[in-house]
């Protein structure tokens, strides 16, 4: 009697397991909805209050790609291995820039090593961490690219068209 129950349980559970595996594969390789914490990317993202339910949601694409200048990327934080951070790519391997902190406090231009990028926050008024603090970021720390702002609906937009804020605080030397 219990044998048929066990068989039927296994028959049903294979759908759950299959669905779970497919969801995880999608999450790992296609993308998912990611919550924006903090105001480091304001006013593009989270220009308003950032308490729990008010945070904006974006689509994080995990399709394979190469970082380009202007992309908003999510990456593993070099300061806390397990946490994720979201900033904008300001320079890619081979380029030379004079980063923001140098403009403020001296130092020289920085040339990106191949396979490394420089990330900066959009919102100069925040105390956020970016490459000005932890230096060049290894490309493989990037886990995905932010493509669309999904929530709130009133602000839906294609974020791939947004760019580095025009600023007097960083110069690209080519």
């Amino acid at each position: 009697m219990w044998k048929t129950r066990v068989t039927r349980f296994l028959e049903c559970s294979k759908w759950f397991v299959g669905g779970g595996v497919l969801s995880i594969l999608f999450y790992d390789n296609v993308g998912y909805v990611h919550t924006v914490r903090g105001k480091s990317m304001a006013p593009t993202l989270n220009p308003g209050p950032t308490r729990a339910l008010l945070r904006e949601q974006v689509w994080l694409s995990k399709l394979p790609y190469k970082p380009r200048v202007g992309d908003i990327v999510v990456f593993r934080s070099p300061k806390h291995g397990s946490k994720l951070a979201m900033k904008r790519v300001a320079a890619i391997g081979g380029e030379t820039i004079v980063p923001s902190k140098v403009m403020k406090s001296g130092g020289g231009p920085v040339t990106m090593k191949p396979g490394y990028v420089w990330v900066e926050l959009d919102n100069r008024d925040t105390a956020g961490r970016d490459s000005n603090e932890y230096g060049q970021l290894h490309e493989k720390m990037i886990i995905g690219k932010v493509t669309w702002l999904l929530w709130p609906w009133t602000r839906i937009q294609d974020l791939r068209k947004t760019q580095l804020p025009i600023s007097d605080s960083m110069i690209r030397l080519g």
Partner: protein
């Protein structure tokens, strides 16, 4: 008599089609399951080079090892052997042993200090910054590791190497 043969023939075709479907589903299902397992749970890799002798490649030029991908990077401990992205070459990987974690100190190896060690060591020691770890090959005389390129961020670690399958 002819229609009986025809009916039988149709049944055979139906049966074969069903088997074809079953085989296709099995192939797709197995491929997805394999992809899932090798990207999230465990996978194998070939270790080449002599930087980890005698632990790996003592008597060979390459060995296949088993790697587990499930440990979160915060649980990596000293003496774990890890597979990580190569800090010097984007698409390459390195297999090294973790010798120090963030907040710990590394003693300078008098015999083979590397570029990074020579530049940043102070009074014979180096500290590992938060979010990073220090990795070294077991073969100290023939290994490009943290002594050369400095500590690596934990985020570059993909998994821990468990043991050699064959060499």
């Amino acid at each position: 008599m002819q229609s009986a043969a025809l009916a039988h023939g149709k049944k055979v075709v139906q049966y074969l089609n069903q088997k074809k479907r079953e085989i296709t589903y099995t192939v797709i299902g197995t491929s997805l399951a394999t992809f899932f397992i090798t990207s999230r749970i465990a996978t194998t890799a070939v270790v080449t080079g002599q930087s980890m002798t005698p632990t790996f490649n003592k008597n060979s030029s390459k060995s296949r090892v088993l790697i587990e991908l499930m440990t979160p990077v915060t649980k990596v401990k000293p003496n774990d052997i890890v597979l990580a992205h190569d800090p010097e070459e984007t698409d390459a990987y390195i297999v090294k042993r973790v010798t120090a974690l963030a907040g710990q100190f590394v003693d300078v190896d008098e015999n083979c200090p590397g570029t990074y060690v020579r530049k940043y060591a102070y009074e014979g020691k180096l500290s590992v910054p938060s979010g990073y770890c220090w990795v070294e090959g077991d073969n100290k005389t023939n290994s490009q590791d943290s002594r050369e390129f400095g500590p690596i961020p934990l985020g570059l670690i993909k998994g821990r190497v468990l043991y050699t399958l064959w060499s």
